[in-house]
Amino acid sequence: MIPFLARRLLLAMFALLGVVILVFVMVRLVPGDVVTNLVGIDAHPTPEQLANLRRLFGIDLPIHVQFGKWFGALLTGDLGESLRTNRSIVSDLALRLPVTLELTVLALGIALIIAVPLGVLAAIRRGKTADYLASLFALAGLAAPNFWLAILFILLFSLQFRLLPSSGYVLLNENPLENLRHMVLPALSLGLSLAAATTRITRSSLLEVLNLDYVRTARSKGLSERVVVYRHALKNALIPVVTVIGLQVGTLLGGAIIIEEIFGLPGIGRFALEGINLRDYPVVQGAVLVVAGAFVLVNVLVDVLYALIDPRMRYD
């Protein structure tokens, strides 16, 4: 177990370092340079003004020195300040992270509540109407873009039936019920495609396990089909489901960017998009780093969880 964990952690560290380097390099991809972009050509800045600004942002230094300074600050938890508001990016991110986390966790919960029972039903009723309906749901859920679903839900539940709000956010600790009312549609829009993917994998994984010898043994002992499925087969069938969910957390985090924008949720995704629109590059860098870092962390956790559930993994 320990060599497995050590190797996994080392790879994650490499990946994180790569992420940091890539995020640093990205800002240097800006055509022209950050300062000219920020000021705009219409402002007709003098060369002296531009040089001063470059000095202010530290982009007049050699690139390795710039990276060293930036990386050093990063290690102390300093992501710099917003070019527009001068506020610390770390403190802004800390305010917004709980919103994104809540959205992601709720979407994951909705996906599991829909997908596991539906996948099990499809597997035990293989080839019957329930199976076809579940497959249809899975195909449609995978094909529908989440931002489009969000708009359809707003049309239906907010504009037509006036049941749920179409935008805004209420803090969880201020009014949990209102918070939930504001989060239902975003979480549903974000969770449906994961529900579709998870339904598929639950169905195929359970079908595979139901064909194994130990399940045949359980059946031959005269156990009821219910006990065979829920007590014996499902536990093993859910192992691949854990992996798929782990891999899909990235999709959830990515999808949260657009969903937050549509529903006006003050999460990290919306923060990043605001940064993009205002050309506030340090904000974009900070948001991208945090989301990618969270994704790497979740993947490590999933691998560890997987190794704990399935001992064969540790020796792979």
């Binding site: 490499f14 990946a15 195909l139 449609a140 489009w148 049309l155 195929s204 990235g250 999709t251 990043a272």
Partner: protein, 291 residues
């Protein structure tokens, strides 16, 4: 795989086997029909679309679906159906070019990495680790934030994002066959490395790569739509599905069809590629056959 193994004994038979399997797969056939419909609409857009997709027509603004405008009109009186058809051109061309670029660069590096192993393999795999450490859409958004939007930057961003999965699949496919007897035999006969890779190994990696291409096209369509929804895609007034949904949102209560139409088009296209990919997997790789 089985199909590719037959390649050396007789191509026509292998092709016949493939077609028989393909025609017997409802999933592959449905997928092919849907994809053909969308591709056909994109190619013959000027013939199929009843109206100019970019011309403003204030008199007809926000009209509901009718015989004249089957998907209604938008805020500027433009026919939604015509815009959806022309939008297929942007969506399909961005996705197809991006996936081809990802296949050539990512697939090529992955195949080489699986063939050469050693430091080159480690380098390529660590690079893919870094790219895969980003949620796909986030990496594309970040790249476009710094590169700027537009057709080519959008295509490039999607290509970069999807080159890592192609590298992984190509490497795995090459690793599976590189120690096989037929590769050993050609090595013993004195074949050069490039020849072994090109003539013997790559044809055997064809099936998994074809499946990956089809499924990645579906993802690329979704990515393109998401990015153009955020305003990071091709600039208006040329119609792009994601952009159309974003525009339609402003008049959602008055003219929901302006958002519904392009969304349905995305769904049909993605469904088509997903079904085609699933079907190809069933036909080409029996080990991965879905139950």
């Amino acid at each position: 795989m089985a199909l590719m193994a037959e390649n050396s004994s007789g191509e026509p038979r292998a092709v016949r086997t493939f077609w028989r399997g393909f025609m017997a797969s409802p999933s592959a056939l449905t997928g092919l029909i849907l994809v053909a419909l969308v591709v056909g609409a994109a190619i013959f857009a000027p013939i199929f679309s009843p109206f100019d997709p970019v011309k403003y027509n204030p008199i007809d603004r926000l009209q509901g679906p009718s015989l004249k405008h089957i998907l209604g009109t938008d805020l500027y009186g433009r026919d939604t159906f015509s815009r959806v058809i022309f939008g297929a051109r942007v969506s399909l061309s961005v996705s197809a070019i991006a996936v081809t670029m990802a296949l050539i660069v990512g697939g090529g590096l992955g195949a080489l990495s699986g063939f050469r192993l050693g430091w080159f393999d480690t380098l390529v795999m660590r690079l893919t680790d870094v790219l895969l450490a980003f949620p796909a859409i986030l990496l594309a958004i970040a790249l476009l934030a710094f590169l700027g939007g537009g057709f080519w930057n959008l295509t490039l961003a999607i290509a970069i994002v999807y080159s890592a999965p192609f590298a992984r699949v190509a490497r795995a496919a090459v690793l599976r066959v590189r120690e096989d007897a037929f590769v050993e035999a050609s090595r013993a006969l004195g074949a050069s490395n490039p020849r072994i890779l090109w003539r013997h190994i790559l044809p055997n990696a064809f099936a998994p790569m074809l499946i990956e291409v089809t499924l990645r096209l579906a993802y690329a369509i979704l990515s393109e739509a998401s990015l153009s929804y955020l305003g990071l895609g091709t600039p208006p007034p040329a119609p792009a599905w994601g952009q159309m949904i974003a525009d339609g949102r402003r008049t959602l209560e008055l003219a929901p069809w302006a958002s519904i139409g392009p969304g349905l088009a995305i769904m049909i296209t993605v469904l088509g590629f997903n079904l085609l990919g699933d079907g190809l997997r069933d036909v080409l790789d029996p080990r991965l056959r879905r139950r």
